[in-house]
Symmetry: C2
Subunit: 342 residues, 2 copies
């Protein structure tokens, strides 16, 4: 099969790799129909040291089950399925409490002998626990929105849930990337009345408005904080969907004392401001990597009936062989989120 | 009047200061009956640069109203009252949402022309908003436990509330100081079934057991974390009642993914570990400075009927003139919490 492999910063190649095969009886092999490039794929794209080994890329995909291991009971060849961005057994204590991202047997695509999602096929461990069957056909127009459930939409939802968004709330979403925009969808879905989107890429913030943002703040840093405070008087709930210290500082500057900041962007820092000043303000820091698998079934009906259309974040489609172009376009911010059709 | 004033690390003096007078019509002057030394008073006692000006000390006190300003309607001379450890107007937006610690007009005792609590009397700003009347006489045996409502007990309660402690929970309390021990009381009060107290001062952990701790872990650092995990399998809820990086690291090591750490000790660090590792684990960091005023009336009945006796944390009584000894004894860990009777 063909697959995208990263060999270092700026160096994504599409090459031939062995077709995946069942290794464990709980595996399934899924032929990929649609995959995409994640904002988090751009961090190694900017900074990964050069390597000869290469790293298979991609952790968001949907496709058709091709083969199942002997112990797989819930799936059969031909099923259309979406994969959450990590695999998980759905039976351990963490899975049982709704945190499959911390699954005791879970792992990441592209590591430990598991294929990446940006390729022709993937061997999915713990297929019964990981994959979610989709009741549509392979040519459904809903595929992009269903693919968004693998990460960006379930991640945005995680932000809204952990920030405690409820009916009538005013919420700030920091970041106009695909996760931030999906957080707008999720926040509106949970009943927020006022949704302030902090972002300065007009095409994206316009989509954010269509998703439900009531206000857009394009200014950054202190100016952005002042503007958000002017517009809202400060907010109780913030979803930080970037991962930079600047985004966290914006969240801290805009949140009211006693408020909550939910982080969705993988932090690009090891240490952060949780000293006496933040302590005195009773700011709660929550969120984290989304337990996507736990949310997919919950959000699926809203995608199927068209209540939400997170697939609109995909603004350009690439073939698998064009994957290097997809990375470049996203890194240059010419493309919001690249859909890849192997 | 006599009052304790700090002039630098290790340098607490008791000296004559002007008797407080009504300045604003919302003030009351309270003659102090009982005060105490706070764990947080020990941080400046260890590190405050020498100064000629001196800083009046103490923020926990109860006493008798001596005089009220023209606008004070809820209090009259002779009323016995307890003061939360900051003053607040009880009318601003933060007070209205139960966060008087962030009161728009609030402030701290010992600053901005307001007396400290370790003295003969205190001018209390926003007396109607700040002070809580106590339905006992000045010679009540309950005074120490009522005094504990000014800070340590309401702070311990804040930890249990923000950690989300509920019936049947397993909770870890890090720190066997007065706040940690009060957190044990609060945690048990909210129905926790298993309460692990991390501390190694036996007299204190024994009191913790009487307050409801089911397990005591005396080991520190990695060994302490291993022991807590061995005893509990990891905990969902942690109350960190120290404020050092080591205590936070213990909390992080012991908490399960998806769990909550509530911080009650004023952080002795500016930056802390909130990087990718903590993000991937979905650990929530909450807590902060207690909105004590918002909790006093809630906890008062339990003190009055003897359900809780947080005053047991006071293990030695000093006269006001002995305040320097009280600081020394607490700093040397010979005394858990010093009660001062002016």
């Amino acid at each position: 099969m063909r697959a995208a492999v990263m060999y270092g910063a700026g160096d994504v190649r599409v090459e031939n790799r062995p077709d995946p095969k069942i290794v464990q009886p709980t595996d399934a092999v899924v032929r990929t129909l649609a995959a995409c490039v994640c904002g988090s794929d751009l961090w190694p794209y900017r900074s990964m040291p050069a390597t000869d080994a290469g790293r298979p890329m991609g952790h968001e995909f949907l496709g058709v089950v091709e083969e199942t291991g002997a112990d797989v009971t819930g799936l059969k060849p031909g099923d259309l399925v979406v994969a959450p961005f990590t695999y998980s057994d759905n039976t351990c204590d963490y899975c049982a409490k709704g945190l499959p991202i911390s699954c005791r047997n879970g792992g990441r695509y592209g590591f430990d002998g598991v294929d990446g999602g940006q390729g022709g096929a993937v061997r999915v461990p713990y297929a019964d626990g990981t994959l979610v069957k989709l009741p549509v056909s392979a040519d459904s127009a809903l595929l992009p929105s269903l693919l968004a459930l693998s990460d960006v939409m379930t991640t945005g939802h995680h932000g809204a849930v952990t920030a405690g968004v409820a009916r009538g709330d005013a919420v700030l979403v920091v970041g106009d990337g695909a996760v931030g925009l999906c957080a707008v969808i999720a926040t509106k879905r949970l009943g927020a009345e006022r949704i302030v989107l902090a972002g300065r890429h007009e095409a994206r913030t316009n989509l954010g408005r269509e998703f439900g943002a009531t206000d857009v703040v394009a200014e950054r840093g202190e100016e952005g904080i002042a503007r958000i405070r002017e517009v809202t008087g400060g907010v109780e709930k913030v979803i930080e969907a970037v991962g930079t210290r600047q985004a966290l500082d914006t969240a801290l500057g805009a949140v009211l004392d006693g408020g909550t900041i939910s982080r969705l962007g993988v932090p690009q820092y090891e240490q952060g401001p949780i000293g006496p000043a933040e302590f005195m303000r009773n700011v709660t820091l929550t969120g984290g990597a989304s337990p996507a698998r736990a949310y997919i079934e919950q959000l699926l009906p809203d995608v199927l009936d068209g209540t939400m259309a997170p697939g609109r974040v995909f603004d350009q489609t690439f073939t698998l062989d064009q994957a290097p172009d997809a990375y470049r376009a996203m890194a240059d911010r010419q493309v919001l989120k690249a859909l890849i059709r192997p």
